[in-house]
């Protein structure tokens, strides 16, 4: 079989070299009554031509492509230039291991260095790491970083309008670390934004920091600068989550807003929807956090001839050296996804990113304006969004709204009743640069027919 270069004569030769008669002798330490069990319940091998047919048949059971989708909520359908796939699929990028032997890994390492740099530019922070698993686990790592650096402080404040899955993940991560506590800060339903008064009251002596999202899960831009300043007055860290990385070229950077730790999801930079993974968690921080940061870091150095080169650095914080005292247990990361993001970012460039980001916003703004003409639906937060808005359905149950939208081949958005009790009839709708005016008009017409 094509993945096994050894021929039967080769195997014979090896057995002869080893001085044994049968391969089974090499497995003699395995309990013999458990070894070489029957493979009867394992399906037969499928050759390549048949494999393709089988997966095409499975793919036909996916009907989502029959719809125009306005789904967002932490995964976004953006345009990916062809070069991203072309370049990232090169075997020299796809098949090497982590660059522990840097002399033969300069391709991966320099690409990572460039990715790290671009992420610091976009976030306005001092350093970025070379990736984490996804936005949700990055948020959990951000929380742990704030708690770790906060030393004597054991409480983290969590915004209730942070992506609900991210909150779940943070809760799972903190649950078994009994020395830490989570407290929640609610948001104002009228504005969709964090209740600043409640935040101020809740920042106590033992609060290491506050983790919040902007634009938040309801699509609204938070007053990040104000939040950071309040936290700093009380010696607490400002931890911002960004689930839609495409907002970074459009909104003022977290760094300029005095954020200490930025974490989030960079799937929007060149990764397909992938049914949720693999995605690209990122973390960018102010200089004081560098030695406490989880994940790999690429640093620039020189070789014995004085030539510029790159290596993984500060590895002493990582699990393979510090073991139980490591800053994180992370080993494998999302390096290849970060490579794709780096290619995407350098291809789009400054003007491309800013223009695409603006297109996202303008498309959303157009929808928001047009909805004004209806009375049976409304946009809850009419301004200061990036590319997601909350659409309230007033005249019919939201499940009917979805059924009727689907009859128009439209996936209208993420049902907010999945996550919030007081948003029973609301839908989170997302527009990207891939939605044309015609698509948006079709959607608006369909909504109009629901009167």
């Amino acid at each position: 079989m094509r993945y096994f270069p050894l021929t039967d004569p080769d195997r014979e030769k090896i057995l002869k070299t080893l001085g044994i008669k049968h391969i089974k002798e090499l497995f003699s330490d395995i309990p013999q009554d458990k070894a070489y069990y029957s493979l009867d319940d394992i399906p037969s091998a499928v050759p390549e031509d048949e494999l393709i047919k089988r997966f095409q048949a499975i793919a036909r059971k996916n009907t989502f492509k029959d719809y125009t989708s306005f789904l967002g909520g932490g995964a976004y359908n953006h345009f990916t230039p062809e070069v991203v796939n072309y370049l990232s699929q090169k075997g020299e990028f796809l098949t090497p291991y982590t660059p522990y032997q840097p002399e033969v890994s300069q391709g991966s390492l320099q690409a990572m260095f460039e990715y790290q740099t671009m992420m610091t530019m976009l976030t306005g922070m001092d350093v970025s790491n070379a990736s984490l698993y996804d936005g949700g686990t990055a948020a959990a790592e951000g929380v742990l970083l704030a708690l770790r650096k906060g030393r004597k402080k054991n409480t983290i404040l969590v915004a209730r309008n942070l992506h609900p899955e991210y909150i779940e993940i943070i809760e799972s991560y903190i649950r078994d670390l009994v020395e830490y506590k989570i407290e929640y800060v609610d948001f104002k339903r009228e504005t969709g934004k964090i209740d600043i008064n409640e935040l101020e009251k809740k920042i106590c002596e033992s609060c290491a920091g506050f983790i919040f999202q902007s634009p938040n899960f309801l699509g609204v831009v938070e007053d990040t600068r104000e939040i950071s300043d309040i936290l700093h007055q009380k010696n607490a860290y400002s931890v911002q989550v960004v689930t839609e990385a495409m907002s970074l070229p459009f909104l003022e950077s977290p760094g300029k807003n005095n954020v200490d730790i930025v974490v989030g999801e960079a799937q929007s930079f060149g990764l397909p929807l992938s049914y949720g993974g693999p995605f690209l968690g990122f973390m960018a921080v102010k200089e004081e956090f560098i030695r406490h940061m989880p994940g790999r870091l690429v640093g620039q150095t020189v070789d014995v001839d004085g030539k510029r080169g790159y290596v993984l650095t500060l590895s002493t914080r990582e699990q393979h050296i510090k073991r139980e005292k490591a800053t994180s247990n992370i080993c494998s990361n999302q390096a290849w996804c970060a490579l794709k993001a780096g290619i995407y970012l350098s291809t789009m460039g400054k003007t491309g990113l800013m223009k695409i980001a603006k297109t996202n916003h303008l498309n959303t703004a157009y929808f928001t304006k047009e909805i004004e003409k209806f009375s049976h639906v409304s946009i809850k937060y009419k301004s200061n969004f990036f590319n997601e808005v909350v659409l309230e359905i007033k005249n019919i149950p939201v499940d009917d709204f979805f059924k009727k939208s689907e009859a128009h081949h439209i996936l209208a958005g993420v049902p907010l009743k999945w996550f919030y009790k007081d948003y029973e009839n609301a839908v989170l709708v997302n527009f990207t640069e891939l939605h044309k005016k015609a698509d948006i008009d079709t959607f608006i017409r369909a909504i109009g027919e629901l009167k």
Binding site: Y36, S44, N85, L94, P99, G276, V302
Partner: protein
């Protein structure tokens, strides 16, 4: 060879260059709905390049990498096997790349794929159920220990300690720590394995579990595993198996038959998904029947002909966004389907043959610290050498071979861990063996030559001290061409 590193994109960047093509916005700025104070007006120093320059840049970067596609890559415990290209084609199918919040009825194919892989994994491992959510092996270990914790907590006491062999990978104690446990190291014996008496000496009611890699990082089968499982269970403790080395006995024996309660697998090792320069991976967790309720959400099930998903259960909660690294799971499914019952067993058999062939041919040239049977990876020490293990590794680079794993596990001095995998030909093995003999001879006659190696790689030995002291972790505008 003096291949120059490509210039950094920031130094090639120039205003006016453009690398993309996309339709203009259809609406004017007049309708913008965001206050000026929130807006960004520039991304300082962000690069602008033409498409040509981008393609050349990354193409030239790719030439600087050694990869499985270009040559032998015998990193122990990493299982650098060939990454099949049909896996890439199928994982790239647009019809699979749905939004994770798409209505379940519109993604039945994707749910079928995940459920199929789960079933394959249960058949191969003998565990009762799987979750595909964890994003990597370490993530899986973390999840697995949380499952142990919840299980014991529900019985009254989560306990305090996880026992970990001295040969374990660093992610083991790190993962245990992040799940709220202290760790205690348990020594391997002269045969390189954990013996029952040593375990008993470390066992008490504070011990929640033993985390055991099998075969361990020495490439040796932990043959006392069933008795160990019995002793642990009698103490109310659990057995966690780190399945990173599953390549050694996939299709030969099932961990579920050996008394394992919780197991993680690495799809990017045993199941051929590409390493991508460090990830993405996927670390599915399999559990014994009494632990199934602790699995994290989401849980995929089949009711009649329909696949359903449950987002709430009695388990440890959510540990990853959405469903896990789905497209990595797709690649793994294509792989196991390609192997089928006819070839499944050959993975372990050929990888064990290859590792033993290397062992036999080098054991008179290098110190073999353990005489126990080798499975899929063999470990040598630097005893008696005039040079350091690192120097041998660096010299191998001059011969186009990626070195073995160095200095791990910590219990072997100057460890050299060699895992050829089953996807290497006898010719490649012979070439490796010949090269090793050449390099070892050089080490005897002219150690200084190795100490200055490598000579022919794109860059030579790099100054890691400089890197850690200077901490240049990003390009800055003052950093111009060089």
């Amino acid at each position: 060879m003096t291949m120059k590193l490509p210039e950094l994109i920031f130094n090639i960047s120039k205003d006016g260059k453009n690398g993309y093509s996309f339709s203009e916005p259809e609406f004017s700025d007049d309708i913008m709905a965001v206050d000026g104070k929130y807006r960004r007006t520039d991304i300082e120093n962000f690069p602008q390049l033409s498409e040509v320059e981008i393609v050349r840049h990354y193409t030239n970067l790719s030439h600087l990498n050694h990869s499985v596609d270009s040559g032998f890559y015998p990193l122990g415990s990493c299982t650098m096997k060939y990454n099949p290209k049909i896996n890439e084609k199928i994982a790239g199918m647009e019809e699979l790349s749905a939004h994770p919040y798409a209505p379940l009825k519109s993604v039945q194919g994707n749910l079928e794929i995940m459920k199929n892989l789960e079933e394959w994994l249960t058949k191969i491992t003998g565990m009762a159920a799987f979750t595909l959510a964890p994003a990597a092996g370490a993530h899986g270990e973390f999840v697995g220990v949380k499952i142990v914790r919840q299980h014991l907590a529900e019985q009254g006491d989560p306990r305090k300690i996880i026992l970990i062999p001295d040969s374990a990978h660093g992610t083991n104690p790190a993962s245990a720590h992040f799940s709220g446990y202290e760790t205690k190291e348990i020594p391997s014996n002269a045969d390189g394995i954990i013996d029952v008496e040593t375990l008993k000496a470390h066992l008490n009611k504070d011990v929640a579990a033993l985390m055991m890699t099998n075969p361990n990082t020495l490439g040796i089968f932990e043959k006392n595993i069933m008795e160990i499982a019995g002793v642990l269970h009698a103490n109310g403790s659990l057995l966690y198996m780190d399945g990173a080395n599953m390549n050694a006995f996939m299709g030969i024996v099932k961990p579920g038959d050996l008394g394992v309660d919780v197991l993680h697998l690495n799809l990017h090792k045993t199941f051929s998904t590409p390493h991508g320069g460090g990830g993405p991976g996927s670390g599915p967790i399999g559990v014994a029947p009494h632990m199934v309720k602790h699995l994290p959400v989401p849980i995929i099930s089949k009711k009649g002909d329909e696949y359903q998903v449950s987002y709430f259960n009695q388990g440890i909660g959510r540990i990853k966004n959405f469903y896990g690294n789905f497209l990595v799971a797709v690649r793994a499914l294509v792989y196991v389907m390609s192997l089928g019952k006819e070839h499944l067993r050959k993975v372990a058999e050929d990888s064990v043959l290859n590792a033993n062939y290397i062992r036999k041919n080098l054991e008179n040239h290098l110190d073999l610290p353990y005489s126990s049977k080798t499975l899929h990876e063999v470990i040598f020490s630097d005893k008696g050498l005039k040079v350091k293990t690192l120097d041998i590794a660096k010299r191998l680079l001059d011969f186009g071979i990626h070195p073995f794993t160095v200095y791990f596990p910590l219990i072997v001095h100057g460890a050299m861990m060699i895992e050829p995998t089953e996807t290497e030909s006898l010719e490649t093995l012979d070439e490796f063996i010949a090269t090793m003999k050449t390099v070892l001879a050089e080490a005897e006659e002219n150690p200084a030559k190795l100490e200055q190696a490598p000579y022919t790689t794109p860059v030579r030995r790099l100054d890691e001290v400089f890197a850690a002291r200077q901490l240049i972790l990003r390009w800055k505008p003052s950093q111009t061409e060089h």
